[in-house]
C-alpha cells in the first residue's frame, strides 16, 4: 500500500466516520436549529469524504470507487483516529469532539493548501472554508455550555475528560507521515500541535473548563492497528444497505 493511498484513506476516513456519527443526530438534536446545523456539518464532512476517497481510489488504481472504499471495507481497514468513532453519548460530548477535531482540521487543511500535490491542495482549499465555519460554531457552543449552567458545565467537563486522551492521536507521527512530509505533500501532523493548543487552551479558559493534566494518548486508529469496539457497530449501521444488496443504486 503506497504512503499516499494510506494518507488519503486517513483523511477520508476521518471525515467519513465523524460525518456519519454527526448524522446520527438527525431528527433528535436538542433544538430544531441545532438539528439542521448538525446535519449541515455532517453533509460537509461526507462531501469532503467523497473528494478524499475519490482521490484515494484513483491513486490505488484497482478499479475501486469512493463508494467501495466507504461501504465495503471492514473495521481494520479503516484509518480514522479513535476519537471520531467514539459514540455521541450526549450533545455535550458530540460538540466537544467536533471542537477538538475542528481546531486541528482548520490548521491542518490550511497547511495542505500548500501541498506539492495539486489535487490535495484543491481539496484543502474547498474544505478549509467549511472547517472554519465548523470551528466557529463548535467553539462558541463549547464556551456557551461550559460557561452556562452548573449542570452544563459538569457535562462539558466530563466530555473533555473523556475525549482528552483521544484528542491528540491525530497529531502523532508515524512512518507514513514521515514519507508524506519528505515528499512535501503534507507537514508532519505533530507540527500542528502548538497552533492547536493556541485554540484549545483559551477556549477552555473561556468555557470555565479544566484541561486534564495527562499526556496519555490512545493510539491505533490512524494506523488501523486497533479500533475501539464502537467502530464495528457504527459500520454495521452505515454499511448495511450495501452489504445486504451489493451494488444497489437509487
Amino acid at each position: 500500500m503506497s504512503a499516499l493511498f494510506e494518507f488519503l484513506l486517513r483523511q477520508g476516513d476521518n471525515t467519513l466516520v465523524l460525518g456519519h456519527r454527526t448524522s446520527e443526530w438527525c431528527g433528535t438534536a436538542p433544538a430544531l436549529e441545532e438539528d439542521i446545523a448538525l446535519a449541515n456539518t455532517a453533509l460537509d464532512l461526507i462531501g469532503q469524504t467523497q473528494l478524499w476517497l475519490g482521490y484515494a481510489a484513483q491513486v490505488e488504481d484497482k478499479g475501486r470507487s469512493a463508494n467501495d472504499l466507504a461501504f465495503l471495507r471492514d473495521v481494520y481497514d479503516f484509518k480514522n483516529v479513535l476519537m471520531l468513532e467514539t459514540p455521541n453519548h450526549d450533545f455535550g460530548r458530540t460538540i466537544m469532539r467536533q471542537f477538538l477535531f475542528d481546531a486541528f482540521q482548520v490548521h491542518w487543511l490550511t497547511a495542505l493548501t500548500d501541498s506539492k500535490d495539486s489535487h490535495i491542495s484543491e481539496i484543502a482549499i474547498k474544505s478549509v472554508k467549511e472547517a472554519k465555519y465548523h470551528l466557529e460554531r463548535s467553539r462558541d457552543t463549547v464556551i456557551a455550555l461550559g460557561d452556562g449552567t452548573e449542570k452544563s458545565n459538569v457535562i462539558m467537563q466530563s466530555a473533555l475528560e473523556y475525549l482528552w486522551p483521544y484528542a491528540r492521536e491525530i497529531m502523532s507521527d508515524d512512518a507514513v507521515d514521515e514519507e508524506i512530509a519528505s515528499l512535501e505533500i503534507a507537514p508532519l501532523p505533530s507540527t500542528i500541535h502548538e497552533s492547536w493548543l493556541q485554540i484549545v487552551e483559551p477556549t477552555m479558559r473561556d468555557a470555565c473548563l479544566k484541561i486534564p493534566d495527562s499526556n496519555f494518548v490512545h493510539n491505533g486508529g490512524k494506523t488501523g492497528l486497533r479500533h475501539t469496539e464502537h467502530l464495528g457497530h457504527m459500520l454495521a449501521t452505515m454499511q448495511v444497505l450495501q452489504r445486504s444488496y451489493p451494488g444497489v443504486t437509487w
Binding site: 433544538a31 430544531l32 436549529e33 449541515n40 465555519y133 462558541d140 456557551a144
Partner: protein, 96 residues
C-alpha cells in the same frame, strides 16, 4: 429541569444573490445575536440563497395593528397621482 426556558424568537432577513434589499424569510430561536446569525446561516442559506443576513429579536420589531388598517392604509388607495407612472424615466436614473 426547572430552569428550562425557551430561547427568544428572532426574525431573519436575507439579501439574495441578485436582490437589492433584505427580505424577511422566516424566524428561529437563539440565545443571543451571534447564535441567531449562525442558526440563520444554517437554517436559511443552505441552498446558497443569500449574500447577507440580518437578524433582529422579534420583540424589538414594532408592527402595525391589523384592526387599524382602515385608517392606516385606505387613504392611500385613491391617490394615483402619487405613482410616478406619469413620468418618463431616463435610463440613466437606474433602479427607482
Amino acid at each position: 429541569m426547572s430552569d428550562k426556558k425557551e430561547w427568544p424568537l428572532w426574525e431573519v432577513f436575507i439579501r439574495g444573490q441578485h436582490g437589492m434589499s433584505h427580505r424577511h424569510v422566516g424566524s428561529l430561536h437563539a440565545s443571543d445575536n451571534e447564535m441567531a446569525m449562525k442558526n440563520a446561516r444554517d437554517v436559511y442559506t443552505r441552498r446558497n440563497e443569500g449574500v447577507s443576513i440580518w437578524v433582529v429579536e422579534a420583540q424589538h420589531i414594532s408592527a402595525s395593528v391589523p384592526s387599524e388598517k382602515g385608517p392606516m392604509f385606505d387613504p392611500a388607495k385613491d391617490k394615483v397621482y402619487r405613482h410616478p407612472t406619469f413620468y418618463e424615466l431616463p435610463d440613466e436614473a437606474g433602479n427607482m
